[in-house]
Amino acid sequence: MGRERIAKRAAQELMDGMVVNLGIGIPSLIPNFLGDKRIFFQAENGVLGIGKSPSKGKEDANLCNAAGYPVTVVSGASYFDSATAFAMIRKGLIDVTVLGGLQVSEKGDLANWMVPGKRVPGVGGGMELAQKTKKVIVVMSHVSKDNEPKIVSTCTLPLTARRCVNLIITDRAVIEVTDEGLLLTEVMAPYDVEDVVRYTAAPLRIAASLKRVE
């Protein structure tokens, strides 16, 4: 499954001791792939130190993540109000956030909150996370349902934040956003470099150390 594979690759970016905020969708699968790394997961509603999902029947309705699903907490966890949660975010205390994306531009602009005329869900806490987190990783399918590239020269959808994305992980590639533009560092089999280039609507430099991931 593409989603699991993306989540597994994103999990490799998280290091022991980091403070991390995960978006909904694919990012929520990442905790399944962390091994014994100790990560402090933060949630915008007001929890630092989210642990594994509770087993069925052990859910606590008053202990949920930002998506409204039950969680547990690890030793050393804390509860606080949402203003404090965003104080942590704005102050730059979150090491990594992993967010979903609709479009990412070659400069690292992120659009992930609305499709005009179709879906207007609102931005939630995405703007703060995208603008203020030390490292922003976007995980998404490489192309849209209509087979359109989601990595583009300039985003056509309304932006969440400008120049915020550091790393893009898709079902086909891992791409770094650098000052010199996009750098393709990994290609996921069965796709090859040509596939990735063809379905990326922005200039792509190929890393000398390009890795093919089976």
């Binding site: 929890v47 949402s82 203003a83 965003f86």
Partner: protein, 242 residues
Amino acid sequence: MVRNEYGKIISIEQAASYITDGCSLMVGGFGGVGSPPSLLQAIIEKGVRELTLICNDTAFPHLGVGPLICEGRVKKAIVSHIGSNPIAGQRLHDGTLDVEFCPQGVLVERIRAGGAGLGGILVDIGVDHEWLAAGKQVIEVDGKRFLLELPLTADVSIVYAKKADPFGNLIYDKSARNTNPLVAMAGTITIAEVEEIVPLGALDPEAIVTPGVFVHYIVQSNGVNWKWIWEESASPNGQRKN
């Protein structure tokens, strides 16, 4: 039996009488978690209309503030997202609901500012964002640009807490705290629905999150009367269709 020595402990019906057609209503909770179920039900049953709702989000259709939206009781919502409530999306689309979107952290800080008697806050979130910055005053401080975001208050704030004493001192329960301590500060009238009312002195002053001076009325909760989303579906933790 707890003594009602400050006259703050009232019935749910009495509490609902403060929420009237056309008023602004601020509601604690995040995706319905930590929203006051009995007060929300009483507001629905009372048939209040034309509300301006200020809340983190529009919850899910059948829980939290969701039913207020679905039953057309809200004319305007000031929220950070409506993504979990498709009816809110429909109503926005067909023009029966006006929505003012505000980034989550900015929204909650505007509420805090309203509750803290501030005239506004300076935030750099979205300062270069064409949609968010539109119509807002930009203020430069030490060479950095900020948006002036205005405080939010409401005629009535309703919150959910774990325990209250008769003075209205509140403690919360885990992630059900979320926006409640901020919302509690920002109401002209603040009503706390609580799981348990304990005698004065029973709460450790060191542990109190909301000092009772912010709380005008206290009601005993009848408990959650909705099914949570995770009780209805087998979908794993945090996953939602995008």
